[in-house]
Symmetry: C2
Amino acid sequence: MTQQRYDRDAVRAILDRVREEGRSALTAPEGRTVAEAYGIDTPKEGLAETADAAVALATEVGYPVVMKIVSPDILHKTEAGGVLVGIGDDAGAAAAFASIVDNARAYDADARVTGVQVQRMLSGGHEVIVGAVTDPAFGKVVAFGLGGVLVEVLKDVTFRLAPTDAETARSMVDGIAAAEILRGVRGAAPANRDLLASVIQRVSDLVNDFPELSEVDLNPVLATEDSAVAVDVRVIVDPAAAVRPTAFTQEEILASMNRIMRPASIAVIGASAEAGKIGNSVMRNLVDGGYRGEIYPINPKAAEILERKAFASICDVPGDVDVAVFAIPAKFVAKALDEAGRKGVAGAILIPSGFGETGNHELQEEVVEVARRHGVRVLGPNIYGYYYTPQRLSATFCTPYDVRGGVALSSQSGGIGMAILGFSRSTEMGVSAIVGVGNKADIDEDDLLTFFEHDDDTRLIAMHLEDLKDGRAFAETAKRVSARKPVIVLKAGRTDQGAKAASSHTGALAGNDKVYDDILRQSGVIRAPGLGDMLEYARGVPLLPTPTGENVVIITGAGGSGVLLSDACVDNDLTLMSIPPDLDEAFRAYIPPFGAAGNPVDITGGEPPSTYRNTIALGLSDPRIHALILGYWHTIVTPPMVFAELVVDVVQEFRAKGVHKPVVASLSGDVEVEEASEHLYRHGIVAYPYTTEKPVAVLGAKYRWARAAGHVTGG
Amino acid sequence: MTQQRYDRDAVRAILDRVREEGRSALTAPEGRTVAEAYGIDTPKEGLAETADAAVALATEVGYPVVMKIVSPDILHKTEAGGVLVGIGDDAGAAAAFASIVDNARAYDADARVTGVQVQRMLSGGHEVIVGAVTDPAFGKVVAFGLGGVLVEVLKDVTFRLAPTDAETARSMVDGIAAAEILRGVRGAAPANRDLLASVIQRVSDLVNDFPELSEVDLNPVLATEDSAVAVDVRVIVDPAAAVRPTAFTQEEILASMNRIMRPASIAVIGASAEAGKIGNSVMRNLVDGGYRGEIYPINPKAAEILERKAFASICDVPGDVDVAVFAIPAKFVAKALDEAGRKGVAGAILIPSGFGETGNHELQEEVVEVARRHGVRVLGPNIYGYYYTPQRLSATFCTPYDVRGGVALSSQSGGIGMAILGFSRSTEMGVSAIVGVGNKADIDEDDLLTFFEHDDDTRLIAMHLEDLKDGRAFAETAKRVSARKPVIVLKAGRTDQGAKAASSHTGALAGNDKVYDDILRQSGVIRAPGLGDMLEYARGVPLLPTPTGENVVIITGAGGSGVLLSDACVDNDLTLMSIPPDLDEAFRAYIPPFGAAGNPVDITGGEPPSTYRNTIALGLSDPRIHALILGYWHTIVTPPMVFAELVVDVVQEFRAKGVHKPVVASLSGDVEVEEASEHLYRHGIVAYPYTTEKPVAVLGAKYRWARAAGHVTGG
């Protein structure tokens, strides 16, 4: 936040008046006062109550002027004939005053006319928009974009969480697609980008100080080399905008989540001996999965289930219970949860559906209330359950999963959870956890992130989500966590963006998806474009060492693959190293004279294994190179498995020497390249057959994370 | 072309003068005359040779005026102080004349000063750019974009082949990203789009009539509701721009290609009995592949190869030879080709490398010359060969391929060819042909397209290419062929676009890739974003029936998949049908009360097979629905293979009744969904596990083709 002295009292006074008068919008002069109180320049202007006063004012602010009706009863000034522009002299100002007041009376005879606003008419400079909205997920969000019709048509606007720091505000000014225009192209004078960044920060401070401001819209702001003037200021007030969801502290979250993810004992409420029942599947998966804690079946009608003593109520269980898994119909949950709460469980895993997702919101709220009363955290309802492999825990009605590894995944939807499970099993992806969050009545992604942040068994977190209950908490947590571990998000539901009608107001521009996109990026999150991508990133990113610089080199046996791999680098914001002459010469020593050094390094088809080996070794050994992309071309001289083995060999040789660089590979060839790709993948080289896009996309995801987490320096 | 009467003589006179004077650029007044000759308005203006004349002219055209130096020796007028704007009265005009002439003299004492151009200074309206360039691949191309700094920064510009028809010109005006701006947003006056389209057509006609015009740049054109005035006209002349590559006629192409693809006899020049040699691999593949025509090994040192009599020279072969496959070093090719030519072969398949790709352009040109002399078409050099499964023909050093089917593929690169082969074998893709075109010394993609167009065994063509020798011939052929069969293109090498410096000239805007992108689309080609996509489109698109309308319906067991499938529809320009009330009710009859009708139709998880069956049957039977996307969620109630079999069953039932709609599916679940997806795919339902993106992308590709080919009506 800036160290600016703001006149908060002036703003408070206006907001008090607005509240007293039961209004939700500030008048233009009020908006101007609010802006000025936060050091945002507005055009010279004043309120005239008579024609003479209008002439005097116009002379004072300087011709040409714009004159506008000021009336609490007239919202659509133009429609009411209440706006006249380009008034150039005293006679014009006097006539305009009369005309505006007459028009207003004709439009609404009962309208209270406060007077006529006389404003210096500005021209020239760059037209931009600066605003703030209250997003349903993220709360206060600031917006910046080019003004005029462009912002409407091209939606070239960017968002950040408020409050913003100076660097973030500056990143907004430089972050729109048309940013170059503000630097002054083709001889046009540039805008003062520092001044624009300061306007963004001031708006951010304003909505942060007065959270009841649901929307602030400076549109347009005219920006020149030495000024940034907010020509129109629109401010909307809504007391509801000031409400922030309550949040648990990190300590509280960890205390509960540690017991939930690493329970010493689990009760299965609704455990059943009957195959096909969910309460049977859950019991079976806990047992078959190899969970080594206590398992207590809860079922009033059974003495024993799967050779374990059953209890009529969780309250009858002799020892402590950390987690209660609910496998009973929705309508019985509240009562059973009350018992579990009294027993002191840390978490209630609500598998049943029939809550919010079917419209039964009251039941869901009731359940959360019961849980809150007992300090129980609720996972779900409407979920498949959860897996945590370090505990060999499969608390789910699906099938057990036991390939341990560093990837933690969560999904909002059960179907996506099943796709995660199937993909993991098919690719033998090492997983620490798979968690269904379902309706997210309580536990949500930021609780999980906080647990995984401190979980040494988790190296990467991948989350499928459709919405965020508290986007701000998520963004803050993700920013913290992603500095340590990659966080991948598949945000589903981008289509509602299109539904919003074209409009120039910040509020309407804050299409759901663009806000998510900007803020997830700001939080260091890697956004996956689709389900397949999320899964491939999750599998591949943790295998790749973290790059320390931007210099990527392609070494390829097939020139054609080299071109496609270069295209993929562009698509994934990767930088093809511009090879210095000595390095170029070093590569040339290994490749045929008609091969191409430069980048891609084209070793040409038909080369023996030694050419691949030598060039890859050079790429790994030269400290100026930070990552390698390999293109393999199937030949008799270097068959697929020979290639795969030599690559594994040389990469491991360098890893043993402490050289850790990400290496990915695209294999072109007959079906043997599938086995070769698998061999490479198993040894930490992310490799795919028949595609140049996928290996580069995974490397690109790694880079996006590495940059955001501050590991990559220079270019 | 418009029926406009153009003053071609006026243009010819100017171009003659320009040629005589050895210039390559027209002066501003010349450019204006050329534009006016083609009915393109320019600002009122004139050339003044004295200050008095300047004043008279300014009065005539109307103040304010712009005045500019006219000198054949001064190219950079502004730099020379030769441009003054906003001159408002007679005194100003007189002073400006003196000042401009003085400045010019000071800038270059030897400059010949023709006079000073006095031009009405226009303002208001929309600033656009209309131009034409001579593209190295496509020849004359017209461009349209928003003018001003926007066109520089956002590169919002679109291209079409010249000459354009009225509809195409109009599609350019409406086809830029910011097209809405020209319709007049937020109360701004619209531009006259018909008038702009007519300017595009006039420029198109101009460069078509005078192909030596290498570049025409109307920048800006000021467009209002009733005018479109080209403020600046820049014209560049280059006699080389008029040269068009010679082309074969369709009949010539077909005559040769039919013999090449369906040869009765093949000679292998450099056939060898020694395993590991290319001449041995080619022989072996021809034999093992099951080719039933005559095979003649040519080798002066062998009597017999693979039990076939060998000949010292192709001239010694007793019967006719249709195709000669060359498996000899580059340096021997020309001589052997001469013999093959004398023997009367239709095609020479040049496997060897060592030609243009290694810098040996003369040798390549020599070979082409030999071939031309004999009327032989050349495939390659620097290729793996080619496959044509209807003839069981594997004329390649790779391995045979025999899964017959309707997909013809070609690749410019050998590596990509191997990826095609491997993918085909792995997925059992039915293929008619795989052809390597390599250096494209002669036969290129439009020759192949022409053959495949008439080949009843080919239903879809997929081509990997890095450049086009004659983009215009390709575009024209592709437009014709794609009206009958889908043409998929993977255009590699998009990165050179970034290399061009920012500039507002049409020439610099014609970044290679954007021109390719627009013209491929104009030709009805489906452009694949990557190698994997090209292969998946090739495999899936021919299996799907052609949709007849835009109404796509998603039926899903997993709400989460439904959201992701909807996102994928947006990404692929598919239209989710807005379900009419009666249809909504009909769906509701089959799904649980808490399921969601609308679109996606969410049948909810845990439903029995009958729910999937009933809703899918409804989707197939209702004629208002044109395509189905299925989302499957693995449950015990409807296991993966049960789902797959019921879908195949119901789809086949409707196909038997003559209902052919494309159906694609995304399967979420444990590993059993992989087998289920394969079962679906084998039965014409394009299905994938663990991804919502891929099935929708293939459907999107089918739609793009179906729309371009005119099969899809309404929305």
